[in-house]
């Protein structure tokens, strides 16, 4: 193992040191990526070959297998991003802020995919690609929050100051997530209500199974992508650190 420069304390906090987390993340990435590929293949097989055509929407409903997973991931990733940004702000831990920075682009892509697939699903079912309804508008705001976070961090040269500014933005934006989730309840929206609630589902079980497998596929993909990006961010930010140069000599970077 590499020499640990951080002071040894709680075993959990050990992993808060970038030099300890870096190789650990490196071992996790291929497993999550492989899991994502297997789950996506299984989910798409269920969704396209086992699940029947919907009685009302025909085959257009099959967009659900990427629409719902990407929409859920966009919301979940935002909360996780804000959490780590907040931890970085409160405890001044470098790795937490790097984690928030690593999550933002994947979260933005998830928000984009949910909006894009939603538009292509809205056209045949509602007759329009876009409508300024509460669910759609709040999801668009989510995408802008991600983009704002990325732009703000990119605009500030000093990375520690960028982390702090980004954290404030991320934490303020958290209020948007419950608004997205409950928008279909609070307002009279064109978007349908939740198809899956804790304890009940409005979907046929085979369709639900395909969708949930795809949720896990998106989940594992996001973990792989975020960890891979985190490793790169660690190298970018710590490139002058002794442990990076030592790892380079050993060829284990």
């Amino acid at each position: 193992m590499s020499s640990v420069t951080a002071s040894p304390g709680f075993s959990l906090f050990r992993y808060a040191a970038p030099n300890v987390f870096y190789p650990l993340a490196g071992r996790m990435v291929p497993w999550f990526a492989a899991l994502a590929a297997v789950l996506a293949a299984a989910g798409l097989y269920i969704g396209f070959f086992l699940a029947p055509t919907d009685a009302q929407q025909g085959d257009s409903y099959r967009i659900i297998y990427i629409h719902v997973p990407s929409a859920w991931m966009a919301m979940l990733l935002y909360v996780v991003m804000a959490f780590w940004a907040g931890v970085g702000l409160a405890f001044n831990t470098r790795l937490s802020s790097m984690m928030a920075q690593a999550i933002a682009p994947t979260g933005a892509l998830m928000a984009f995919i949910s909006l894009w697939t939603g538009a292509l699903w809205g056209r045949p079912t509602w007759g329009t690609y876009w409508v300024w309804d509460a669910r759609l508008t709040s999801t668009l705001i989510l995408l802008f929050l991600y983009l704002g976070f990325i732009a703000l961090q990119a605009a500030i040269d000093d990375s520690r100051r960028a982390d702090k500014a980004g954290a404030v933005l991320a934490l303020v934006g958290v209020v948007n997530v419950p608004i997205i989730y409950f928008s279909v309840k609070w307002w009279n929206t064109l978007h349908q209500g939740a198809s899956v609630k804790p304890g009940s589902s409005a979907m046929a079980s085979i369709m639900l199974a395909g969708m949930l497998v795809m949720v896990f596929a998106f989940w594992t993909y996001a973990i792989a992508a975020v960890l891979a990006r985190l490793r790169t961010i660690i190298v970018e930010r710590e490139r002058r650190a002794q442990w990076v140069l030592e790892a380079r000599e050993r060829g284990s970077l």
């Binding site: 396209f48 085959d59 995919i113 490793r231």
Partner: protein, 58 residues
């Protein structure tokens, strides 16, 4: 198997444009992310390789 032919599979009951338009763009976006992750990692490693040798005291 519910699709009698490949043609039927691609037409998705007349919704082919919407269904495949969704999947194609989602796949392209994720592929672009993987590609940009690789590119960014290579650039970061190249930067480290170009740095002066280790052994100096910080």
């Amino acid at each position: 198997m519910q699709w009698q032919s490949l043609e039927r599979f691609f037409s998705m009951g007349g919704y082919g444009f919407y269904v495949w338009g969704s999947y194609a763009v989602a796949a392209a976006v994720l592929a672009a992310e993987v590609w940009s992750l690789r590119r960014r990692r290579r650039a970061a490693l190249a930067q480290v390789r170009a740095a002066p040798a280790a052994g100096r005291s910080a």
